[in-house]
């Protein structure tokens, strides 16, 4: 009787224990699974609506950033094309300024040319003669010319020749643009050496005239001569460019 009763009492208890064990096992299993799935990524365990919200946020942000990128790219294109254009314009303007500076005598220049020395003989070398010589040089294509001579105080001033250069007889010498020079005169001309030399030597030209006056002309062609004297830039008082 007793064993039977014990068996009857034991079986439900055992079943309940099994059930409790199963539940606890299930809990442990679920715990482990949940912990593992949470450890992966925050998004993996996020709820669907949260994910949708996150996705919305991200796509809105992406749209905004894409718009920003497009803006920046167009700005960049604008700036680079603008800088190209202004860079080209600047280069053009610099080149033009250089050319005009050579013409106006406001920049130092160097290049192949001729150095001419005019020595005075029995007669004076007049301003007319120097002007003729300058015209001859210009006719021969000299691009930059300077006149130098013995100065008054033993210095040797040099005058860059420009469009408004003038010559006048003054004392024992010649005034070029107001600077008094005396013989011997040294003329530096940048241009084609043979052409200039030939121009000086034409009959009735500078060479002949100076020789007739008892002086001498010495023309020396050089591969590279430098003219460092400059003309002051005069602001035009009356003339204005036509727009």
């Amino acid at each position: 009787m007793r064993p039977a009763r014990a068996a009857v009492r034991w079986r439900p208890r055992a079943r309940a224990g099994m059930l409790i064990g199963a539940l606890c096992g299930l809990l442990g299993f679920a715990l482990a699974v949940q912990v593992r799935s949470t450890q992966g990524s925050a998004l993996e365990s996020a709820r669907q609506e949260d994910l949708v919200r996150i996705l919305d946020d991200l796509s809105a942000r992406e749209d905004r950033l894409r718009g920003e990128i497009a803006d920046q790219q167009s700005a960049q294109a604008e700036i680079s094309s603008g800088s190209n254009r202004s860079g080209a314009a600047l280069q053009q303007a610099r080149k033009r300024a250089d050319e005009l500076g050579v013409l106006a005598g406001t920049v130092a220049v160097h290049g192949p040319g001729v150095v001419i020395t005019l020595r005075e003989g029995s007669q004076r070398l007049t301003a007319d003669l120097l002007l003729d010589a300058l015209e001859e040089l210009r006719g021969a294509g000299a691009e930059a010319v300077s006149f130098a001579g013995d100065g008054i105080n033993g210095r040797s001033p040099e005058v860059r020749v420009g469009a408004s250069t003038w010559f006048a007889d003054r004392g024992g010498g010649v005034a070029v643009d107001g600077t008094s020079l005396t013989a011997p005169y040294k003329i530096t001309a940048i241009g084609d050496g043979p052409t200039i030399t030939a121009a000086l030597n034409i009959p009735g030209g500078v060479n002949d005239t100076v020789r007739q006056a008892g002086g001498s002309v010495q023309a020396e062609q050089r591969g590279d001569v430098t003219i460092t004297s400059l003309r002051p830039l005069k602001r035009p008082q009356y003339a204005r460019p036509v727009k």
Partner: protein, 110 residues
């Protein structure tokens, strides 16, 4: 003893197998786990109080899990799933704390 052994066994199996949680169960599993933990701590306390009952434990365990899952489900349907989940976790956390405090008093008389 059986319960503790089964718990550890379940943990080991879960760690070894590393199954992925089915998508449908994903919102409910964490709440269900917390609810089950509450039931287990309640059972432990009852055991120490000497009033542990198999039937009560099993029913409270299952009903805890089901009610927790149901609340989350209801919250999802109402659009307040996140807040309700938080509420459930808070309530269960308080209960667990209470149970653990009782267990502590039993074990350490403090």
């Amino acid at each position: 003893m059986i319960a503790a052994a089964a718990l550890i066994l379940g943990l080991v199996i879960g760690l070894v197998l590393q199954p992925t949680v089915p998508l449908a169960l994903q919102p409910y599993l964490p709440i269900a786990v917390v609810a089950a933990l509450d039931a287990v701590f309640g059972g432990l306390r009852a055991n120490l109080d000497g009033i542990f009952d198999d039937r009560v434990f099993v029913i409270s365990f299952v009903s805890n899990v089901l009610v927790a899952a149901m609340i989350v489900f209801l919250g999802d349907q109402l659009g307040v799933g996140g807040q309700l989940s938080t509420g459930v976790v808070v309530v269960l956390g308080i209960r667990i704390f209470g149970n653990v405090a009782a267990i502590r008093r039993h074990l350490f008389r403090a």
